[in-house]
Amino acid sequence: MKITIEALADGAEEEIIIRTNTMDSDIINLIYAVKAGRNRITAFYENEIVQLDSKEVYYFESVDNKVYACCEKKVFEIKQKLYELEEIYKQTNFVRISKSMIVNISKVSKIVPMFNGRLEGVLCNGEKVIITRQYVANLKKKLGI
């Protein structure tokens, strides 16, 4: 595939044009990756609307039909559903680790085995998240194991 990069004049709007014969899954995933990389998440924090960088998010969690984006210290409410976030960020560092959680693996410092057969992820801020056995294969695949 040929890649052409053109330098733009100051102030000109950046643009990506994809020329393809077939809209296959590779192209679709590429579009998702570009969009997720650039997209900022619209979130709500104490009645204010804020724009979050997805790289700041440690994990997304669904609790009582509400979805939260948990960052280092703050928790933001977001309007997307967990399955939508999983689709949007599937080509990035985010991976589903349980029915109610999608974690940013670049924020996971280590994985610890638990006595009941589960795995626990320790995040960079010290928080611990449970990795359900059902989703361990997901995590391994993401890490290329």
């Binding site: 560092n93 693996i105 610890v112 006595f115 009941n116 057969g117 589960r118 391994k140």
Partner: protein, 142 residues
Amino acid sequence: MNFLKVFINFFSTITLGIVFVCAVNMSLSSGYDVPDSVLWQVLLSGFITSIMTSIGAFVFTAINTKIKLVAAVVIHYALMSVIMISLGVWFDWLNFDIKGIVMMLISVAVVYLIAFLLNYYIIKKEAEGINIALEKHNKRNQ
């Protein structure tokens, strides 16, 4: 598929534990002729206890507190003991008296420990593998 995988994992570790306990018991009891059927009995015991343990594993993994986990382990151990005592009486492995029951409780505890340690070792190795990949991944993304 997941249940089958869990079952095969438990069946191999539990049956290995039962074989180990049987071997020790046979070595200790001199002059005891081992019938051919004992191999099938060991496999059947392993099968029944593994089925129960595999079902229990799905309950175990959903437990979040230490107290509930300890309670689940005690209940599971008691259930395994009842199953093994019943099978032991049926297979003529033990006399249904205090000594026989205590010996079976100890045997179940030994099998329990072997299966627990083997499974924990497998999970620990799995976590180590993930940690190595995670470290590489995070270095690449820094």
